[in-house]
Every structure is written in C-alpha cells, then in structure tokens.
C-alpha cells in the first residue's frame, strides 16, 4: 500500500513535542556538541517538595546545556513539561537565571553565547511560591539585559505551552518560535475558568482555547515571530534562522506605542472574537 506524499512527510518527521527536555536540547544544538551543566548527577533538587510529600527530580525539571549552533557557542535551557507541569521553583529557576546571567557575563567580555530557551511551563511552582517568583523575575531581568548583546531565542511548542510569569519571559525574548500546538498566555484556561466563571471560558473547550491563545493565533496577531510544524528539524532550523535575522530592531516588548494603540482599539465591554482580532491586531502592525 502506498503512502500519500503528505502522510509520508508526516511519518518521516520527528515530533519535537514528544521529546523530553534533554532530548530537545540535544537535538537543537549542533550534533555531538551537547554538554550538560548542573545535570542530574549533581542532584540539585528542590528542598521544598519532599517537605510536601512530592518526589523530586534530580535536575529539578530544567536542563542547562552548552554546545554550538552552526559553530557559534550556545547555551540552551530546556524545561521538562512532564515534571510538575514544567513549573519553576527555587532551584529550576536559579538554573535558568544562572545560565542567562553567565551568558550575559560572557557577552560583556566580548564572547557572545547564543541563548535559547525551550519553554514548556505552567509558570511558577505554587509549592515554592515566592522563591519561584523571585527566580522568574531574575530570568526576566537577565533576558532584558542579555538581548542588548545577543538575540534571546525562545521556543514554545506544547503540549503544556507557556503561562504565568514565564509567558512574560517568552514575550521578552528577541525572537519567539511557536507551533500550532503551542499555547501562550498569562493565565491558563483552568485559571480563567476558576476566576472568571464558565461563562468567561470553558476550560474543556479545546477549539476555543486554541483560537484564543494557540500558536497560530499568537503568530497571526504578531506575538510570535515564527510558526513552524511540530518537526524537530524544522524547529532546530528556525532557531538557527532566528539568530541570523533577529539581530537589531526594537524588541517587541519595547514597542510601547504600538502595543498601547492595540489596547486602545479594544472595547473591553465588547471584546472581539479571535478571528476579528487577527484583523484588529494584524501581525504587520507589530513586526
């Protein structure tokens, strides 16, 4: 039985979404260059989770790796979505912030390191509350400082997506790559339903959720710079391309006038439907 060409391409591709955080970092870096820092055998685990009867992971859910991208020195921080929803605690947050701060130090010494964030996170780890939030603030500050020297490239692919304080980290990145399966937003659907009620958003209505915060919608409205398929090779290529194209230009988060104009165009009493928002907030207006 012959396979239709489209299906053959689908079957030949390696899903990025299905990879673990470590596998993602290995695949994104140049082949054979992955070198992990503060890895599982260093056992930097959360001191807070066992106190709450929660099993720790030896890397606290964040993989930091040095390697190269097209021969240029690079550092990849990859969040494991399967561990505690990719949530950011004291240790995992310190690993993320530390990696970016070291890259900043290197950039300041004229040895730029290309930073890549592979995000898959519900945001702060509630069991570690303020310590996680403090770490996320450090991540934000480090991205803003670092992107003056070198583009900071982020990927949100799914299935978790990127929420809470870490959605701000994605928004601060110089270049954001998403898939159609990605979701990006300050509050996740469950939180919105819990706080705003079922009339505001049905957290089980997947089509509705993706129409509002899915990767395609975020790309169409200019909040992401590239929309790629769930294909490891395509994502690795998009990361490389981002460093070639993201240099220069005003970061999205500093385009305050354009963003303010967007808000002014919205009547909060009658918010636009997702399709209308694509016209109202066309990506050309922001990119």
């Amino acid at each position: 039985m012959s396979v239709p060409p489209g299906d053959a391409r689908f079957l030949a591709r390696e899903s990025y979404i299905e990879l673990t955080a470590r596998e993602r970092a290995v695949r994104v870096l140049d082949p054979g260059t992955f070198r992990e820092l503060a890895g599982p055998f260093d056992r930097l685990t959360s001191p807070w989770l066992p106190l709450q009867d929660i099993v720790t992971q030896a890397d606290d859910g964040v993989v930091i790796a040095r390697g190269t991208l097209e021969g240029h020195a690079a550092v990849v921080a990859s969040i494991e979505g399967a561990y505690q929803g990719g949530s950011i605690g004291e240790v995992s947050g310190a690993k993320l912030a530390g990696a970016l701060e070291l890259a900043l130090r290197d950039a300041g010494r004229g040895r730029p390191v290309r930073p890549v964030l592979l995000l898959e996170t519900g945001g702060v780890r509630l069991q570690e509350a303020n310590l996680g939030l403090a770490a996320i603030a450090e991540v934000h500050a480090a991205i803003v400082a670092l992107r003056r020297h070198v583009p900071v490239v982020a990927v949100v692919a799914g299935v978790i997506g990127c929420f809470g304080g870490m959605s701000l980290a994605a928004a601060l990145a110089s270049h954001l790559i998403v898939t159609r399966q990605a979701r990006l937003g300050m509050n996740g659907p469950e939180v919105i339903e819990q706080e705003g009620g079922l009339a505001e958003l049905d957290a089980l209505d997947r089509a509705r959720i993706w129409s509002l915060m899915g990767g395609e919608q975020r790309y169409a409205t200019g909040f992401a710079d590239a929309l790629v398929e769930d294909d490891t090779a395509a994502i690795a290529a998009a990361v490389r391309g981002a460093f070639a194209h993201a240099a220069g230009g005003t970061p999205r988060s500093e385009r305050v006038a354009a963003l303010s104009a967007r808000l002014a165009a919205i009547d909060a009493a009658h918010p636009p439907e997702p399709a209308a928002l694509r016209t109202l907030w066309a990506r050309e207006g922001l990119t």
Partner: protein, 97 residues
C-alpha cells in the same frame, strides 16, 4: 511519599553513569552509577505508599538478569511495575551501549 532501599549481590563493575526517564505522571527516572562496594544498591523514592512488596518483586526480577555493582536511584511518580522494569532495562541497555 515513601523511601525504600534494596541490596543485591553483584559480579561486574560499572564503568559509567546513566540517566533515563522523567518524574512525570506514571513515569520515573533512574540514575545509575558505580556502587561504592561490590554490591548493587537501589534507593527508591515513590509517590505511592504501601507497595514495598511489589517493588521487591520487580527488582528481584530485574536483578535475576543484571549483576553489575550499580548504585541505582529511582524517583517514581506512580509508574506501573511494567513501566519500572522497562526503565530499568533501558538504563541497563544504555550501560552496555
């Protein structure tokens, strides 16, 4: 959460470290490294209490065919016995590779 430990006799030395798996729902991570003595040691931390006997059976079965002097740490998030055995076999395979 429960912590369990097991010891098995060993005959071969372990030359390297291996890490497989994720502490995700129904999954576990295995950290395997050289043991400090001539025995194999397993330290299990599991989110599910009361299954020490099942852990004993699963590990007995694994060590019936594995005789390396490894210090194995398992961080488990509710994996089934079959999943535990698969992850251990994966670690053993990575050790041989």
């Amino acid at each position: 959460m429960e912590r369990l430990s097991f010891t098995y006799p060993a005959r071969q030395a372990v030359a390297r470290r291996v890490h497989v798996g994720v502490v995700g729902s129904g999954d576990l991570e295995v950290l395997l490294e050289p043991s400090s003595d001539a025995q194999a040691h397993v330290a299990v931390t599991t989110s599910v209490d009361g299954f020490a006997t099942v852990w004993q059976h699963v590990l007995d079965r694994f060590f019936a065919r594995f005789d390396a002097a490894a210090a194995i740490e398992i961080n488990d998030f509710g994996a089934t016995p079959g999943m535990v055995l698969l992850r251990l076999e994966q670690a053993a395979e990575a050790l041989r590779a």
